[in-house]
Amino acid sequence: MFNRGKRAQKVQQEFDRRISELGDALSEKAVSPSLKDNMVLTKRLFDGMDLIKYKSLTVKGASLDCFLMFCDGMVDNEMINQSIVRPLMVRKVEGDGPVLDALAAQVLQVADMRRETRYSEIVREVMSGNTVLFVDTCAEAIVLSTKDYVVRAVDEPENEKSLVGPREGFTESLLHNLSQIIRRVHTNELKVKMLTIGRRTKTSVCVAYFDSLVDKKLLGRLLDQLNAIDIDGILDVNYITELIRDNKYTVFRTTGYTERPDTVIGKLLEGRIAIFVDGTPMVLTVPYLFIENFQSSEDYYFNYFYSSFSRWIRILAFFLTVTVPAFYISTVAFHQEMLPLNLLIRIAQEQQAVPLPAALEAVIMLLIFNVLRETGVRMPSNIAQTLSIVGVLVIGQSAVEANLVSAPMIIIVAATGITSLLVPKLNAPVIFWRFALLAFSTAFGFFGFAIGFSLMIMQINNLSSLGVEQTVLSGHFRVSANEDVFVRLPWFLLNKRPPMITSNFTRQGGGSDG
């Protein structure tokens, strides 16, 4: 066992060494003036990659050989034919200057182009849908932007539907997503910084913020953390979340996720930083405050009273969904005197007929509920009906009629389930703390409940995102910091940005715009 582990380790080390050698070799290689050399090298680099297409040409007038290289399926063929191949074959180069300058200025009908000498970059450009033109005698290649690949159409995000307000959602294309942002923000204050993360995927990651609103210290910290990431691939924003979070093992969220451009801009306007990752419609926003778990973009589009009310309901739902099963077990198994007589008798009647003790029953029913929920998420929608029948009839009605489960327990589980749907952003902590509190309550009744609940509050109070405390329970109470916390004030009173996030907190009516 030990030997095998050691051998596997050795193999892995050897493998890593070769990979890094290949990478190093690639990054050291530069474009050679000899077209033949370049041809041989590129062919070797893309050996076994049949999607790479080459096209050899002769530049008219200069009578120079050249070749184009692109990745099939990632490019706009029409554009390559009309704006690159055709002009190269038809247009005559005039004047004496360097060939590449002349080509760029007179022949190639592509607006977005640049020179490149490093092979590592060339590989990346080809693999992301650009066309590379090598010309004989030139130690540089021209990278022409010809990206065109299939993207999902813009539609309403499934998980963040809203009744009012914008309906657009992000897609999997980074540039399209950024365009949706820029379409709504017409200012040079919006900064968009591009990074590449992932040793193998070389995923484009983009950090966006408002220059005047963002806290520069937080931005610097975030960029440092992003640059320090060393991972082979990034497929979704959650990779970044888990790599940059302050509380490593917490079950609570430390970054905001959204699929909605309007939400991202709302967050940016409060001084937050957004992180876009190519290939996913989810966008991260940091720093994340705990109250954001209960906020929704609709809050800002509906009447302020209704929004505040729904926010209370969501906060209440969080506490209910976490505490209801534990509270029930505490009263039923430890503190029966807390129940009014008639309720006590009804529950006792049910308990008398049921074989399992209440606590075990609760655990089993909650697990069944989670199974049902998970099934509901994973299964194709056309069998949804079957599932609800199984859930309702088999587990609900039959179990109660057969006296396997007590009816109050079904009600408790249903209440727990329904309230949990109100706070989807707190899914993980809700499940974790619900079972934790249940365990405490089963062991010590309300005494255990109090301990467990205090621990949960402590954990929440210790959360931070990008070094910013998620909940502020110490210090002085400032109205300005709570304009959008427990209530959402009407827009004409919502004058300040959250002061924990930004130092430029005057949103409106402050005279000079910050």
Binding site: L341, Q349, N403
Partner: protein, 378 residues
């Protein structure tokens, strides 16, 4: 401020949850006791405790909840309670007990403190349990349900007793802890509601019938229900009730007033050693039933009715005071407490001798009745 707020919230939530026992006892292992009756056997010197227990065996959810009686004996109450386990599979759970009924024999023999002491000491029982005294031979009889009164007797009895001052006002109700408190006030007396069985349509029902008067934990007599009403008035506990008055010149002519608002005020005057109390009562009422010759359409006749009602109330209060001074020799109206509160120094002088002084105290009563509504129907 947020810190203080958080601390307060944490304190409150801890206080709510950090109480009670922490041993797991499933509801399926408990017999829920809804009421208790305690008897005392003089010869064997045993307490006999009857527990009314919810009968959970019937799983038929539509039917009314039934109960059964479990009886056990022991030299002390606690022992009797433990002895019940010999007859019952599940442990008795006293946390939801609604009433405690004591037999008159027990009260005569041993007083109430003997019994109440254990209930107050035990953590499981509610101190707000409602206490009553059985006028029948045993206390257990009161708990036995009949055709006319089925279901949980204890819950029914509790409602009868607790809601009395909102409907009929015939006897003040007391809870467990109040008895202990009242017996330890300067006047050392308490009135505990009394229950009896009466026949109705071939089967028995339990009825509230006045109060038992206790002084220094000794039984002094029964206060009839019609005087209980005036005791409630003087204690300002009278919420709603009826006052029926007869015309002085024609006793068969009756009028019933429903009382809307009732206030009583007691003042005391001291002249040397001579004590005098002034009782003033204010009643706002409406005429709800008029079987007398009084013509309610006439202003002066209504005033006459008011006058009659005033005399009636004064007379009844005087009777109550007279009986408490001479029959029970117990200060149930708690005049002594008024002295204690207003003139502590003087009370320290006479407190010791209050039981002798009280029967000689002079009491003046003035009542005003305002008829606000006569219900025009003619």
């Amino acid at each position: 401020m947020v810190r203080r707020l958080t601390a307060t919230l944490l304190l409150i939530s801890s206080m709510l949850t950090l109480c009670g026992c922490w041993n797991y006892r499933g509801l399926d292992q408990l017999s829920i006791v809804v009421g208790l009756a305690v008897d005392y056997d003089k010869e064997s010197r045993l307490y006999r405790v009857s527990y009314e227990v919810v009968d959970l065996s019937g799983t038929n959810k539509e039917a009314a909840i039934q109960s059964k009686i479990i009886t056990s004996s022991g030299e002390t109450l606690f022992e009797a309670g433990r002895n019940a386990k010999k007859k019952e599979a599940d442990r008795l759970f006293l946390g939801s007990a609604q009433v405690l009924i004591l037999s008159l024999d027990l009260v005569r023999e041993r007083g109430v403190l003997d019994v109440i002491e254990w209930f107050l000491r035990d953590a499981e029982c509610r101190e707000s349990m409602c206490v009553a005294i059985s006028q029948e031979k045993t206390a257990e009889e009161i708990l036995i349900s009949s055709e006319n009164m089925s279901g949980m007797m204890s819950a029914i009895l509790r409602e009868i007793i607790m809601e009395d001052n909102e409907v009929t006002s015939s006897a003040p109700h007391v809870e467990l802890f109040q008895i202990y408190n009242d017996l330890n006030t300067p006047v050392h007396c308490v009135a505990i509601p009394a229950l009896r069985r009466v026949k109705a349509n071939d089967s028995d029902v339990t009825e509230l019938n006045g109060s038992a008067i206790l002084h220094h934990d000794k039984y002094m007599g029964m206060l009839p229900p019609e005087l209980g009403k005036y005791l409630l008035i003087l204690q300002n506990e009278f919420k709603s009730g009826l006052i029926t008055v007869a015309m002085p010149d024609k006793p068969e002519d009756l009028a019933t007033l429903e009382v809307f608002d009732q206030k009583a005020k007691i003042d005391f005057k001291r002249d040397g050693d001579q004590l005098a109390f002034d009782i003033k009562t204010m009643t706002i009422a409406a005429v709800m039933e008029n079987k007398s010759y009084v013509n309610l359409m006439e202003r002066d006749q209504v005033a006459y009715l008011e006058d009659v009602a005033e005399r009636h109330i004064e007379e009844k209060i005087r009777e109550l005071v007279y009986r408490s001074q001479h029959e029970y020799k117990t200060d149930i109206v708690k005049f002594g407490e008024i002295i204690y509160k207003r003139d502590k120094k003087y009370w320290d002088e006479i407190g010791e001798r209050w039981d002798e002084i009280f029967p000689t105290v002079q009491v003046n009563v003035t009542s005003t009745v305002e008829i606000r509504n006569v219900g025009f129907i003619k």
